[in-house]
């Protein structure tokens, strides 16, 4: 009994400790970000590995998500004789929800896990402590560029996802299902608001990019420096990122679209 309480306490303290360490780590990263603008080439390198390499996955997934949305939406809308609203359905669901959320989840799987594994391996092969020995701050040199690259690329990826998804939805809706193309676009333009829908979607994706990159970098930096520890950290990155994205999505949605 006492042992159970003791292990519960240890677990709780462990969680609190990690939480605190994670936030201190974030502060350290953020203090390293302003110095990056004088050495932007570091960020460009990371934008390539974080953003560009994820773009293809996002492109293909966005296309198929849009196409499926169009097919599914059509089946429901046609019962009400409202198949002209297909454009609205596709654009609103992509711009408000699926764009940021699905690309965030894919981003966590594609870029987040890679970041964790990279940093974790750097730690276990003592590259990070080697840098410290040479008086190079690994947070500024290694972590901060990756963080900024993640925060920059996530909204771009989400925008690509939404845009490609809408095009995919249009291809299926117009080409396959025969929805009038004028009605598709014009209804979409009437019902989709730039500030309420598009900008709020962009805000969501920035938040998700921030959180996912933060989690990924922290898990890598905090990983037990063994091959098993790096593996576990990578798994944790994906799991925690998914929780964080879906939980935050609810909170943000409630804040943005709750009052109407």
């Amino acid at each position: 009994m006492i042992g159970a309480i003791r292990s519960l306490g240890r677990w709780g303290l462990g969680v609190l400790e990690r939480l605190g360490r994670g936030h201190l780590f974030l502060l350290q990263i953020l203090s390293g970000v302003p110095g990056l603008f004088t050495r932007f080439s570091l960020v460009i390198q990371q934008l390539y590995s974080v953003g560009v390499l994820s773009a293809f996955l996002i492109l293909i997934s966005g296309l198929f998500v849009g196409m499926v949305l169009s097919l599914q939406g059509y089946n429901t809308l046609v019962d009400f004789g409202a198949e002209e609203s297909l454009g609205v359905l596709v654009s609103l669901s992509l711009v408000r929800e699926l764009g940021p959320v699905v690309s965030g989840l894919l981003f966590a799987g594609r870029a987040g896990s890679a970041l964790t594994a990279e940093i974790g391996l750097m730690k276990s092969t003592e590259q990070l402590s080697g840098m410290e020995m040479m008086a190079v701050d690994p947070i500024r040199r290694v972590i901060a560029p990756r963080f900024l690259a993640g925060v920059i690329s996530m909204p771009l990826l989400a925008a690509i996802f939404s845009a490609v998804g809408i095009l995919g939805g249009f291809l299926v809706g117009h080409g396959l299902l025969g929805v009038d193309d004028g009605a598709f676009w014009s209804q979409m333009q009437v019902k989709t608001d730039w500030y309420d829908d598009v900008i709020n979607g962009v805000i969501k994706s920035v938040v998700f990019g921030f959180v996912v990159t933060w989690i990924a970098l922290f898990e890598g930096y905090d990983a037990t420096p063994t091959s098993e520890g790096v593996g576990r950290a990578t798994t944790r990155t994906v799991v925690h990122s998914a929780f964080a994205i879906l939980g935050l999505d609810f909170v943000l949605t409630a804040l943005m679209f709750g009052e109407e």
């Binding site: 080439s41 390198q45 909204p155 771009l156 845009a163 809408i166 608001d193 730039w194």
Partner: protein, 153 residues
């Protein structure tokens, strides 16, 4: 040290992202509409606006001429005061134009429809439209129908 092709692909990626945002702005959302908003505002008072909302369309002969900018309740006579933003290019709307609230389709969204009058003067910024027809509330109509049916028997 910096690889040239890395820079180019990153540039392409950022450009693609911005192009996607641009498409979302111009093609998907209604941002393009705001660019020619050198419009003017008129006020219409309705007995009942039904499901009319801010940003609902305002049409004339089916052509959209503006949007609902604001809805408030007049505390004097308990009518709904609807402020309408009319686009600048539609500046020849007669002052005795009447405004009615209709529903697009059977269950669709509600919108304001203008019917032009015969007056030679045109609506200016801040003018009030006097001739209005309230929204048709489906429950009320059904209620009246049932009532008249019961009376007839």
């Amino acid at each position: 040290m910096q690889n040239k092709s890395t820079e180019i692909t990153v540039g392409m990626f950022v450009a693609a992202g911005i192009a996607a945002l641009f498409m979302l702005a111009m093609k998907v959302s209604n941002l393009a509409e705001f660019t020619d908003e050198t419009g003017y505002q008129v006020i219409a008072e309705f007995e009942n606006i039904g499901g009319l909302k801010v940003r609902s369309p305002v049409t004339m002969a089916g052509v959209r001429v503006g949007r609902v900018a604001d809805i408030s309740l007049s505390s004097e006579n308990y009518t709904a005061q609807v402020t309408i933003n009319l686009y600048g290019k539609f500046d020849k709307i007669p002052t005795d134009t009447s405004a009615s609230i209709y529903t697009a389709g059977l269950l669709g969204e509600q919108y304001i429809s203008f019917e032009a009058g015969a007056e030679e003067e045109f609506l200016q910024n801040g003018d009030v439209i006097d001739l209005t027809q309230p929204a048709l509330v489906l429950e009320q109509v059904i209620g009246q129908f049932l009532f008249s049916k019961a009376e007839g028997e």
